[in-house]
């Protein structure tokens, strides 16, 4: 359950802790506070839930229960390449569930989760707005239309190769070759 936060997230959380006093400590402030944290950190790490519970004087379980009710809140950080699989009506009819499951199998995570190296995360979305291209998946901001189970591996591979190429380029720059 313990999650390692990167230094940037650590400092963001510390900053949030110092500001919580300005948000008031009535129970009714719970959701606005969670929204603020989610907006700044892109997710609610376990430590943030404990911090909010302590601030409001309620149990961490209760904060967790409220947060899990809403789709708006996520408990794992989005990956560097967030995969969003559309399960809207048109995509559903064209077999979006198979696309989703193929991403889940290839990345070995479930929907709503993030790979341990934080490279990929998978989410389902309702409609992307280009039903003519169904089934649709997004990786980051890029829309991939007319998806097929066989295209999944290629897309993942592409992200990995792009990452390696970027790393090589930055190494080259450093060494001045």
């Amino acid at each position: 359950m313990d999650m390692v936060l990167d230094p940037q997230e650590e400092s963001a959380l510390k900053q949030i802790e110092t500001e919580l006093a300005d948000w008031g400590n009535e129970r009714s402030r719970l959701i606005p506070i969670l929204q603020m944290i989610q907006e700044r950190m892109d997710f609610l790490p376990p430590r943030a839930i404990e911090v909010v519970a302590q601030h409001l004087g309620i149990s961490a379980s209760e904060v967790f229960g409220v947060a899990t009710f809403y789709n708006q809140f996520r408990f794992t950080p989005p990956g560097k390449n967030p995969v969003k699989v559309c399960l809207g009506t048109a995509c559903h009819v064209r077999g979006a569930d198979i696309i989703l499951e193929n991403f889940e199998r290839k990345l070995e995570i479930k929907e709503g989760e993030t790979t341990t190296d934080r490279e990929f995360s998978i989410d389902r979305v309702a409609c992307v707005g280009c039903c003519a291209l169904a089934p649709v998946a997004l990786i980051g901001e890029i829309v991939h239309g007319k998806m097929a189970p066989s295209k999944v591996e290629g897309l993942i591979m592409r992200c990995q190769i792009e990452k390696e190429m970027a790393e090589r380029a930055s190494r080259k720059k450093e060494t001045g070759e």
């Binding site: 359950m1 309620i58 149990s59 961490a60 379980s61 209760e62 904060v63 967790f64 009710f69």
Partner: protein, 213 residues
Amino acid sequence: MMISLTIDDRQIQVAGGTSLLKACLDSGIYIPHICFMEESDRSPASCRLCWVEIEGHSWPVTACTVTIDHPIAVKTDTPAVRHLQRSALQLLLSVHRVECKKCPANRQCVLQNIARFLEVGLKPGRLQRRLKEPDVDGSHPYLDHYPNRCVLCGKCIRVCRNHDNRTALTFAGRGFHTVIRSFGRFDSDTVACDSCRACVEICPVGALVIREA
């Protein structure tokens, strides 16, 4: 002030302000129920089992949410009441893993008793069976929770809240995915769980058990 009620063909006297369900149970009139707790002042009426018909009402109501403040005539065994109760029980059983032999609540399980009373089979029948994954949730430091036994009556949460209005258990998620969970850390809220067994004792279906060390 005592108020007289007609329940089926019996006349009973009850103190004003009691809930109809409690009045019936105290007079030995059985109405199926799961989520009702005598000590708690507001019943969530979430199990949808304690249906009765009250004269003058055009549809059945849940007995646990009726507070007696004037004389009424109640019927507990009408076709409409039994139909609603059987449907509610079948819905509960459709998300229940029926493995009574392996379950610690076997023979004292409220589901078994109500099924016998209503003459409903434990098999899902016309309903699809929907089970949750994983079968055991070990998020709590001392307890194991079996979501496929749980009927989500919420008694464990309410009894936990009774201690000092802070609860180590919560409903997490929503809809079919709702489960009883704990945030799962050793903190000031779960430290007492080592010696307190209130939630395990109140669970009507054996969904919460103490983890064997």
